[in-house]
């Protein structure tokens, strides 16, 4: 019988769930060869599923179907979820109600540890720091998903022109939400208070700025096609020379299809719709001059440096020219990085220091029984499918450590690298399988820690409330969830 395994997973998003799901299914409960196993998942948010709940755009409900699989994983009796728990060295300022759990409490109670903490911080632009006229895209996403960090609602009823910096899918998500009628969005998982603001929106035009060209844009064809097909908006046509690939360049399939879509232009004729959008290639923000008067109706002046691609490095370099764009609000959507407060954060990589799924020390050697997966390990890139494939690979690595003789560990698996125990971060190799850190025991007693059963009660109630309003779901905030859980527990 292999030694017992007690794995703590920090983070409750898709990467965390896919690792848990794979591990639990590769080590079936009923198989006598499976080691005694516990998988305990900790999330700083009170609700599970990370970006699937707090990142996926509301009009993409199909993407959220993966939560059915996560629900199945959570029925495994070896699995537990603890929400509203922030594991780390310092309490979480953005979510004051999250219970603080020092990492040492995890280390003292678990034999294995996986960081699936994601990339929770927006990457800002050095030339245009946040202000009344410049906000990170993440605060808009957190607003329309009712994230526990509770950013203020944008003053959409006071603005006409919005500029997105960055040409990835998050950027297009925001553009699409702003250019779609609230009567269409009403059927989805969009909170009522968000719909109320969207219904009063006076946004007429969205400019989407990128420092490189259409071949380098990070958005996917699916998201671009949705923009092209928007029923109430049209795209400003793009200069044809920008859409001609340089000679000698072999396009990928995605690049070819992107160019075709852009050449065809929007379904609605330019100028035929009340709302419009435009893509600005080879432009990089240089400065943002705020209006002199305090009136919110005044527009800010965004100076854009013109750029071209350095043929050798494929980086954007300035041509020396500039132009200006009058805009009511700039939204930076330049990607995400891991929280620098996370243990093993590497400032140069802007995510955790890891190699092939294992946390590494600064000299590059793997730390025994410590793992990282998903965006925390790789940076904020890739769609759900890439997160899943990575998670399955990390589950395979964990499995090769805990059950090397298991059938699932194929002969082809690489031998484990030289590993060392982290001197100050010793995991407990003989943990009490069902014991919890004392902070969690207290948190559960006080009702401050949510478990998966609690989430399912909230989930069902959110769907019920949504149904009554003719929509997919109506979300709860923490205060409401807290009292609803207390009520449901009090019921016989």
């Amino acid at each position: 019988m292999p030694p017992p395994v007690k794995l703590a997973i920090i983070g409750g998003g898709p990467s965390a769930f896919y690792v848990a799901s794979r591990l639990l299914s590769l080590l079936p409960l009923k198989d006598p060869m499976s080691p005694p196993l516990r998988v305990h998942m900790y999330d700083r948010l009170w609700a599970p599923h990370g970006l699937v709940r707090y990142g996926v755009a509301p009009d993409h409900p199909e993407v959220k179907n993966c939560t059915n699989k996560f629900d199945t994983t959570a029925t495994d009796p070896r699995f537990r979820f603890f929400g509203n728990v922030n594991v780390g060295s310092t309490p979480l300022h953005s979510i004051p109600h999250a219970l603080h759990l020092p990492l040492t409490s995890i280390l003292n109670n678990y034999s294995h540890l996986l960081f699936a903490t994601g990339c929770t911080m927006p990457t800002l632009h050095p030339a245009i720091p946040p202000s009344v006229y410049c906000i990170p895209a993440l605060s808009l996403v957190h607003w329309y998903t009712q994230h526990p960090s509770q950013p203020p609602p944008p003053a959409l009823d006071k603005i006409s022109h919005l500029t997105l910096i960055g040409q990835g899918n998050v950027s297009l998500d925001i553009a699409r939400i702003l250019l779609t009628s609230s009567s269409v969005l009403r059927q989805y998982d969009v909170p009522e208070h968000v719909l109320e603001v969207l219904s009063r929106s006076t946004v007429k035009h969205v400019s989407i700025v990128g420092r490189r060209g259409p071949l380098e844009a990070a958005f996917t064809t699916k998201e671009l096609r949705e923009m092209i097909n928007l029923p109430e908006a049209s795209m400003v046509p793009i200069e044809p020379t920008l859409l001609t690939p340089p000679s000698g360049v072999t396009l990928t399939r995605q690049q070819r299809r992107t160019l075709e879509l852009l050449q065809k232009g929007s379904k609605n004729r330019p100028g035929s719709t009340p709302k419009s959008w435009s893509l600005h290639f080879y432009r990089s923000p240089a400065s943002l001059t705020l209006p002199s008067s305090a009136s919110a109706l005044d527009m800010a002046n965004l100076t854009l440096a013109h750029t071209c691609l350095d043929p050798a490095t494929h980086r954007a370099v300035s041509t020396g020219e500039t132009s200006t764009l009058l805009t009511s609000l700039v939204v930076t959507s330049l990607g995400f990085h891991a929280d620098p407060e996370t243990t093993f954060f590497d400032p140069a990589l802007r995510h955790l220091r890891s190699s092939a799924g294992r946390i590494t020390s600064s000299d590059g050697s793997a730390l025994k029984n410590m793992y990282a997966s998903g965006w925390a390990a790789n940076g904020a890139k890739g769609v759900l499918a890439s997160t899943m494939i990575d998670a399955y690979a990390v589950a395979g690595t964990i499995l090769s450590d805990i059950a090397p003789s298991s059938e699932a560990v194929t002969a082809a698996a690489p031998p484990p690298p030289e590993m060392e125990m982290a001197p100050d971060e010793l995991l407990d190799c003989r943990p009490d399988l069902d014991a919890l850190p004392p902070e969690i025991v207290h948190g559960i007693k006080d009702g401050m820690v949510t478990q998966y059963d609690d989430w399912k009660v909230i989930d069902a109630e959110e769907v019920r409330r949504g149904g009554a309003l003719g929509k997919e779901r109506e979300r709860m905030g923490w205060d409401e969830a807290l009292s609803f859980i207390a009520l449901s527990r009090a019921r016989p």
Binding site: H60, N65, V184, E216, P231, Q255, G382, G467
Partner: protein
């Protein structure tokens, strides 16, 4: 856990059965066709969820033969299917390790399979939606399709569906040159 199981089944029925119907009502009242028909079609695809795992197996020797192979070309299983069955549902029915993260609603690329060329040509062209997802699939080939979109016909007898290779480096391989 028992209360949780009950809640889960309640929610599933709400999602899988009630919601598409509800949306249908919504869209017959609404005039916005573009986004509507798109969403609606996705939901109808979504309704296929009910069939996952409960594909009816034909009597042995009477069905359409399909071979599943792993990324190295090793035969995993030969199965028999009925006309109209889709490859994702068949894989689930026969415990083939093919994911369906979005449950057949053409919103992910996790059920990507590589088909034998002579059978690939028998299929109708992929939709724009499917092609958009294939753009993001790893190990894409000229005969790649989403398993959820391939419905088996009699003439596809002896077709091979190969699972694509997924490497740990896909975060690098599957991505265009990075920014910065």
């Amino acid at each position: 856990m028992s209360s949780f199981r009950i809640l889960r089944s309640v929610r599933m029925s709400a999602v899988v059965r009630d919601r598409p119907v509800h949306l249908l009502d919504h869209w017959t009242r609404s005039n916005s066709q573009n986004l509507g028909s798109l969403s609606l079609r996705r939901w109808l695809h979504g309704s296929q969820i009910q069939r996952h795992g409960n594909v009816t197996r034909p009597d042995p020797g009477t069905g359409i033969k399909l071979h599943f192979k792993d990324s190295k070309g090793k035969l995993l299983k030969t199965i028999e299917a009925n006309e109209g069955d889709d490859i994702l549902s068949l894989a689930h029915e026969h415990d083939i390790d093919l994911e369906g993260a979005c449950e057949g609603s053409v919103a992910c690329s996790t059920c990507h399979v590589v088909l034998s060329p002579e059978h690939y040509d028998l299929l109708p062209e992929p939709s724009d939606d499917e092609n958009d997802m294939l753009d993001m699939a790893f190990g894409l080939t000229d005969t790649s399709r989403l398993g959820c979109q391939v419905h088996v016909t009699r003439e596809m007898d002896e077709m091979t569906a190969t699972l694509p290779s997924a490497t740990r480096n896909m975060f690098v391989d599957g991505k265009k040159p990075t920014h910065h």
